[in-house]
């Protein structure tokens, strides 16, 4: 685990840090050169960025390193991450890089890497990339082998074509939808959707911002409560959605002005896909709501619980055919569907939810009322890494009656509640997620938090 206050994280997931204060141009060049070396043969590489000012610096470094290795760089400009992944597939590129820090605040930035087909790197690929980075033996082309860069402006329209092929956009025009774009990339797509397909989207915080976002770009229920829910009632919308900066995550509020738990994005989509018979498997992580099991059971589906992180899902998906999988995702509002081959895509998730409303002829609040109440509490505490194993042992001993799962930190399961305690991959903290059916697990959550806190400094 990183030091408390760490500002740089180089891991198999990629490169992430606070620009100028941890994350430097040198890291960008080295990591991009490692990726350029990792993609053995010179080929086509698609890049795109979010609106952060530092993303321009990162783009220049990434472009330089890719060209130096002889790759052809196709720059999409400012686009959502799922559009980059779509373009990789569509342009038959060898890979891609997304520049942007997604749900982190403006001072952060990150690089995400994709391989052929727009897929996330598997664990073994990520490990190899990291090895190349550490070895710093980059493979560059000679003077007559360096690549060329070109700009591609058509990626957004091609992505919209794909959305139009998958979703009944004509029918979705009857909904009035409020969207908080958080000054991120979703606005670009959604604005075009209103123009091209006549969707009634009311966009707020649509302007791209490079230096500061109007609010933290996190897709949590709390953010939806503060920023989104009150406005949904005011404008009389049928639904409200809130995106992070690179549009891979989304959360929502109902027409009643109720902010929903971000956990429900995956639940509603799983419900829809299972009901339609599109696959049986629901892949999710150990920290996501147990409501998934309940919903899956209604349709004879099956939930596969994985360690937290994109990596574990990516690796697991490799073992299933597309027809088997209904949905894969996490409770944070990041959901992927086989129809959009395994890309976390907030826009597609939003459309799927609207499609369910349309198909069932019910309001969003009615759809959600179908589900028994689950209450989830989430907390985080900085802790000394050294004693993490002891912490897990003590937690397990304290509740010997619970079923223990050690695949990712420690998860303890009871009949109607569970708690998951794990070390974060992105922040120097221990996360505690606790959920109960039909009530708030306040006592359990507090007890676990107290115990974890006793290990902090």
């Amino acid at each position: 685990m990183a030091r408390p206050g760490a500002t740089l994280r180089i891991s198999p997931v990629g490169l992430r840090g606070i620009v100028g204060h941890g994350l430097t141009a040198t890291h960008v060049l080295d990591f991009a050169a490692a990726f350029a070396t990792f993609m053995e043969r010179p080929g086509r590489v698609v890049i795109g960025r979010d609106p952060r000012v530092s993303s321009v610096m990162m783009r220049e470094g990434v472009t330089g390193a890719l060209l130096a290795a002889g790759h052809e760089v196709i720059d999409l400009g400012i686009v959502p991450t799922p559009v980059i992944q779509h373009a990789i597939r569509q342009l038959e590129a060898a890979g891609g890089v997304s520049i942007g820090a997604s749900h982190n605040s403006a001072e952060w930035n990150a690089l995400k890497f994709f391989t052929r087909g727009g897929s996330y790197l598997s664990s073994s690929q990520s490990e190899e990339l990291l090895d190349i980075y550490h070895l710093r033996k980059f493979r560059f082309a000679g003077h007559d082998g360096t690549g060329r860069r070109k700009e591609e402006a058509g990626a957004i329209e091609a992505y919209l074509d794909a959305l139009a092929a998958e979703f009944p956009l004509e029918k979705l025009r009857r909904f009035r939808v409020l969207v908080d774009c958080t000054n991120g990339t979703s606005g670009l797509i959604l604005r075009r959707m209103t123009e091209r397909f006549g969707l009634q989207l009311i966009l707020i915080n649509e302007a791209l911002e490079g230096r500061a976002f109007v609010h933290e770009p996190s897709t949590t229920k709390k953010m939806a409560e503060l920023q989104l829910a009150p406005l949904v009632r005011t404008v009389g919308a049928d639904a409200g959605f809130l995106f992070d900066i690179d549009s891979d995550r989304v959360t929502f509020a109902t027409e009643q002005g109720e902010a929903a738990s971000e956990e429900l994005v995956q639940v509603v989509i799983a419900d829809e896909m299972l009901e339609r018979g599109c696959g049986r498997m629901v892949l999710t992580n150990l920290s996501s709501t147990a409501l998934l099991e309940e919903v899956a059971a209604r349709h004879g589906g099956q939930v596969v619980r994985l360690p937290v992180g994109r990596q574990a899902v990516t690796d697991a998906l490799a073992g299933y055919s597309m027809e088997q999988v209904a949905v894969a995702g996490e409770g944070t509002g990041a959901v992927m569907m086989p129809q959009f081959p395994y890309v976390y895509d907030g826009i597609a998730a939003m459309l799927r939810m609207l499609e369910r409303m349309e198909r069932r002829g019910r309001t969003l609040s009615e759809l959600i009322a179908d589900y028994p109440a689950y209450s989830i509490l989430k907390g985080k505490i900085p802790v000394r890494t050294r004693f993490v194993p002891e912490l897990f042992d003590e937690l397990e001993q304290r509740w010997p009656e619970a079923r223990a799962n050690r695949r990712d930190g420690l998860r303890l399961d009871w009949e109607d509640r569970w708690v998951h305690v794990r070390v974060s991959q992105t922040e120097p903290v221990i996360r505690v997620i606790c959920e109960q059916r039909g009530g708030t697990p306040r006592r359990l959550f507090d007890a676990v938090m107290d115990l974890v806190r006793s290990y902090s400094e």
């Binding site: 220049e60 001072e107 360096t146 690549g147």
Partner: protein
């Protein structure tokens, strides 16, 4: 090729063989050191036509942005054009991605201060320390600036400055027939526009496609300019011009296709300049004595400096020179335009003189005092140059010695100069005299002592 030659990070900047040695990572870090040194402010980035240039422009931009600078990209332009642009827009500094006359496998970063001048040696040493210490400024997101693209105005700014110095109408009226070898370099487009559209010449141009590789050795020496000579005779041109890839060096062919000696070209330019305005002339130690003779005709003093554009410019500014240059390198520096080697200014001055006098280039050159010159280069070996200098001085006891750059020994009717190259692991030997025999004797004496 020696190891040291493949990558050189020195007070002259960064230069190396692209790929294995000169990497985008290194260029980025060096640019960040440079941006740190300049402080926040606009920094101009230009490049020549080398294929690797595009890649380096991005790497350099990354480093500059990371240091908090604004980046102004002006595309593929000659080095003097970039320098003038920096001065014109009052930028904080500039970087030209070019290895000048070096072969295509090389690339390099040329660095300019806010006046569009090469850094002086103290600034360069400071920058190098910054780079080695890796004490870079790291801008945070809210401090970062953007990239501005201006692919249009730089050549116009440069040409406008030249046109203020010459009588354009006089040149245009003559409708000179001119041959050009642009080496597919950074000046390719601008040279065509300058000679054909601005100076009204009937232009016969070869190798003016910036998308193509260099068709010849990029250093414009007589031995590699056969195609230009042939073109001059075929179209019966009044003059032939050849540039290097970044448009600072100029070679000139007379109406018979013969490539003039670079020292004589500089002498003609000095004559033109001093006819316009009297004042000091600055050249490097290896430049021909013909400059002294021409300056003497105008009653003007000549100052000599170590080899290197930065050295010549530094002295020119100190003595308020009217013109300067480096003979053998084909570089003409005319401060009224800018303190930089400028092939465009050279072309304009010569055409103006031809228009004014009605003389051919060969006739103008023939009127210059005649000197015989010989020069050559030998591999540099550590520790050998000092012994060579000692032996040479002992062999010519009556000579007056100048030790500011290697050793130059001056005799009654000639001189010999030995020095280590600034850019390559070579010892350069030059000799000049009033007679061919004396020039040969001095050259061979020095060569025999190495």
């Amino acid at each position: 090729m020696s190891r040291a030659h493949q990558l050189k990070i020195s007070v002259a900047g960064v230069r190396g063989v692209v790929g294995e040695f000169l990497t985008p990572n290194l260029a980025c870090a060096f640019a960040q050191a440079f941006g740190t040194y300049l402080g926040p402010g606009p920094v101009v980035v230009a490049r020549d036509t080398r294929a690797s240039g595009e890649m380096f422009v991005h790497a350099v931009s990354c480093g500059l942005l990371a240091a908090g600078c604004e980046v102004i990209r002006i595309g593929i332009v000659p080095t003097p054009t970039a320098q003038i642009y920096v001065a014109d827009i009052r930028a904080a500094g500039g970087i030209a991605v070019t290895a000048s006359h070096n072969p295509p496998e090389y690339n390099a970063l040329k660095l300019f201060n806010s006046d569009g001048l090469f850094f002086n040696r103290y600034e360069r040493a400071e920058l190098l320390d910054l780079y080695h210490q890796s004490e870079f400024r790291h801008a945070a997101n809210e401090e970062m600036r953007r990239v501005v693209i201006d692919a249009e105005t730089a050549p116009e700014r440069h040409m406008a400055r030249i046109l203020r110095q010459v009588d354009v109408d006089r040149i245009r009226r003559r409708r000179f027939r001119v041959a050009l070898d642009g080496v597919n370099g950074a000046g390719s487009r601008m040279s065509v526009r300058f000679l054909r559209d601005v100076l009204g010449c009937e232009l016969h141009a070869i190798h003016v496609d910036p998308a193509k590789p260099f068709p010849r050795d990029p250093e414009p020496r007589a031995e590699v300019l056969g195609e230009l000579s042939e073109l001059v005779t075929r179209v019966r041109a009044h003059a032939g011009f050849a540039q290097d890839p970044d448009g600072d060096r100029l070679a000139v062919a007379g109406e018979t296709g013969r490539v003039l000696d670079n020292d004589d070209v500089l002498a003609l330019a000095v004559d033109c300049a001093l006819r316009k305005k009297k004042g000091p002339v600055v050249v490097n130690l290896t430049t021909s004595s013909v400059i002294d003779d021409i300056a003497a005709r105008h009653g003007c003093p000549v100052y000599r400096t170590p080899v290197g554009e930065a050295n010549v410019v530094e002295r020119m500014r100190r003595v308020q020179a009217v013109i300067g240059g480096e003979g053998a390198n084909g570089g003409i520096i005319f401060p009224e335009v800018h303190y930089c080697r400028d092939s465009y200014l050279g072309m304009a001055l010569l055409l103006e003189r031809m228009a004014e006098t009605g003389e051919t280039l060969n006739a103008l050159a023939a009127a210059l005092p005649r000197y015989w010159r010989r020069s050559g280069k030998f591999p540099f070996e550590h520790g050998r140059l000092g012994q060579m200098m000692q032996a040479l001085e002992a062999a010519l006891p009556c000579a007056r010695a100048d030790r500011t750059d290697g050793l130059k020994l001056m005799l009654e009717h000639g001189w010999v100069h030995v020095r280590a190259s600034n850019t390559e692991p070579l010892v350069r030997v030059s000799a000049e005299a009033k007679t061919r025999e004396e020039a040969d004797r001095l050259y061979e004496l020095a060569a025999s002592l190495r």
